[in-house]
């Protein structure tokens, strides 16, 4: 296969769809992160009694919620890494291969 020029790769649908895919995934994950964290903050801001309700002898709902926000935020980073390793990296390798074979 003949070596492709930089311009060929930039113009290829494969490269364009890779860029679009990354933008889509990171936008989606950013939206989830925003809903998660600012949802938590605004829930406290607008509905303190909801967070203060007891779910045990004295434990309030707010305590596991705070822990859950941290764990879910970490799971979002895990989701990104799993996606990037499984889907993004192989496509990057393919495109790089077209430039330097």
């Amino acid at each position: 296969m003949a070596k492709k020029t930089v311009q060929n790769v930039l113009d290829s649908n494969q490269f364009k769809s890779l860029v679009a895919k990354r933008a889509k995934v990171s936008t989606l994950l950013m939206i989830l992160l925003f809903l998660l964290y600012y949802g938590f903050v605004l829930l406290i801001g607008f509905n303190k009694p909801f967070m203060a309700q007891k779910i045990g002898e004295s434990v309030t709902l707010g305590i596991p919620m705070a822990v859950a926000v941290i764990i879910l935020a970490w799971l979002l980073t895990l989701a990104y890494v799993v996606w990037a390793n499984a889907i993004y990296d192989p496509e990057v390798e393919k495109l790089r291969g077209q430039l330097f074979d």
Partner: protein, 525 residues
């Protein structure tokens, strides 16, 4: 559970504030080990790539720990434990905010940053723009961020070391300055990275042990711990209090914490120490795991301190509650455990200040000296020499500012550093990576708008105008405690508008080639 008076009798006989054999021994062990590492690193720190970026030989796991080390300061360890001890659940809400920047860092800029940059984040902002103006503006944003962060760290460290070891404030400042300068001057990024790794491991294990002993006192039932807290201080300790009284204020602080991380020069510089974008990505996963774990267990330590030591004793030792964790360590593990925790806190301070100093020195030597003064024609030898001189100057300035601000209320400076980072550095960085039409004028105006608005608005906000400058309550001209929501938005709008008004053909053409490097890592250093 013993009654409060009995606890008081135990805790009041604290050795806190006196140098003890365990605390000094642990401290000396840490210093000796880190100095040996610095000696080892100094032989591998000759080129600019080695000095700024540890030769790009740090693994993803090592960088994950080092990022966590750079980020978990003594202020978050002692401060958040104290805040939870004294204010209960509000401290926990605050702790959550410190993690949420990490996923954002990953989704938006970690990989492009690694692919496009060389030694500093300004490399990325200036990639396809005119070097001189963009480098100067980026260096202003970067150095202001690091400077305010450093002042807060230095003033905090002087008081903490005085509280823990009984050393006079000025001696503590000079001690921190001398030790961290040795790391950075001789060992560059390699030694600084290993100091961060050691400190992160010590801090995470120290706090884990503390948490486990606390839980063991309650038969490993967190519910029993919370019941004990509620029994002493009422159910209010477990409910949201005054922290989020104004939702807009809370969102503004949240934005500063989240996007400020994406503009912290000492954090961004870490991404140039790993071999490629994949390692950069994985290192964020490790870092956010360690940091998330840290902010989950710190509240347990704080609640444990309020249940087992009592708020009265904690505030008696230090009004701000900073000694909650060390007091708890002494109560649970005696003088040796207190000595260990105090030494870990000291190591934490050293590591964070070392990382900040390296970032400031890099901005001065790489961005200003090598690119602006020498117009990119500095030899490697000249640049490394300049970076060492800049390190020395910044270190001395840090110590002097630490002494100058002695006794001042500088807690707002961390918030200010995050506000500048998210308003000056972050918008220019993302626009430069992702927006084709971004121009030199747009970048400079965006950075300067963000920096000056962040500083200006915080001065006329209640945080500084009323709490620091002692003007009457309600006289502040700007209502929000943290200006991020205004200053960051303004910075983006100015960057966008000015770019639309100034067309830069060369920058637009380069954007296409840059994409190959941004997304595929082609040509990455």
């Amino acid at each position: 559970m013993p009654p409060v008076t009995e606890q008081a009798a135990v805790a009041i006989q604290t050795t806190l504030g006196k140098p003890t054999l365990p605390s000094i021994s642990f401290f000396l062990i840490i210093v000796v080990i880190t100095m040996l590492i610095t000696y080892w690193a100094s032989k591998r720190t000759r080129s600019a790539k080695e000095f700024y970026a540890a030769g790009r030989g740090i693994s993803a796991f090592q960088n994950g720990l080092a990022l966590a080390g750079d980020y978990m300061s003594a202020a978050s360890f002692l401060g958040i434990a104290g805040m939870v001890a004294l204010k209960g659940y509000d401290g926990m809400i605050y702790a959550v905010g410190w993690l949420v920047g990490w996923p954002a860092l990953m989704f938006l800029i970690a990989e492009p940053l690694r692919n496009l940059g060389k030694f500093t984040f300004a490399d990325v902002v200036a990639y396809r723009l005119k070097q001189t103006p963009v480098r100067i503006a980026s260096a202003i944003g970067g150095i202001l961020t690091v400077l305010f962060y450093t002042i807060a760290q230095m003033v905090g460290s002087g008081s903490l070391i005085k509280l823990m070891f009984g050393l006079p404030y000025e001696v503590a400042e000079i001690l921190v300055g001398v030790i961290m300068l040795a790391y950075v001057l001789f060992g560059g990024m390699l030694a600084t990275t290993w100091v961060q790794i050691i400190k992160a491991v010590l801090l995470l294990s120290g706090v884990s042990v503390l948490m486990l002993i606390v839980l063991s006192k309650f038969n490993f039932d967190p519910g029993a711990l919370y019941t004990a807290v509620a029994g002493q201080y009422g159910q209010a300790a477990l409910e949201p209090g005054g922290l989020i009284s104004n939702p807009i204020d809370a969102v503004s602080l949240g934005l500063a914490l989240m996007f400020g991380l994406l503009g912290l020069p000492h954090i961004l510089q870490r991404f140039f120490t790993v071999p490629n974008a994949k390692a950069a990505r994985v290192s964020v996963l490790y870092a956010s795991g360690f940091i998330g774990y840290f902010y989950i267990i710190i509240p347990i330590v704080g609640f444990g301190a309020s249940a087992l030591i009592g708020r009265d004793i904690i505030t008696q030792i230090d009004k701000g509650g900073n000694m909650a964790a060390p007091l708890l360590a002494e109560f649970l593990g005696g003088t040796p455990f207190l000595g260990f925790i105090a030494a870990v806190a000291f190591a934490t301070i050293l590591a964070v200040v070392a990382g900040l100093t390296l970032a400031a020195a890099s901005a001065i030597s790489h961005d200003i000296y090598a690119h602006v003064i020498k117009r990119g024609k500095a030899t490697e030898k000249e640049e490394v020499l300049a970076s060492r001189i800049a390190t020395l100057i910044f270190g001395v300035v840090a110590v002097l500012l630490g002494i100058l601000f002695k006794g001042q209320n500088v807690a707002f400076m961390v918030g200010l550093a995050f506000a500048i980072a998210c308003s000056a550095n972050f918008p220019a960085l993302t626009l430069s990576i992702f927006w084709k039409r971004f121009t030199t004028a747009g970048a400079v105006c965006s950075i300067l708008t963000g920096a000056f608005l962040a500083v200006g608005l915080i001065i006329i906000s209640p945080t500084v105008w009323e709490d620091v400058l002692k003007n009457p309550k309600g006289s502040a001209l700007f209502a929000l405690k943290n200006p991020a929501i205004v200053s960051m938005t303004a910075s983006f709008i100015v960057g966008w508008l000015v770019s639309l008004m100034t067309k830069e053909k060369a920058a637009e053409q380069m954007f296409e080639d840059e994409k190959l490097r941004t997304y595929l890592g082609v040509g990455a250093e």
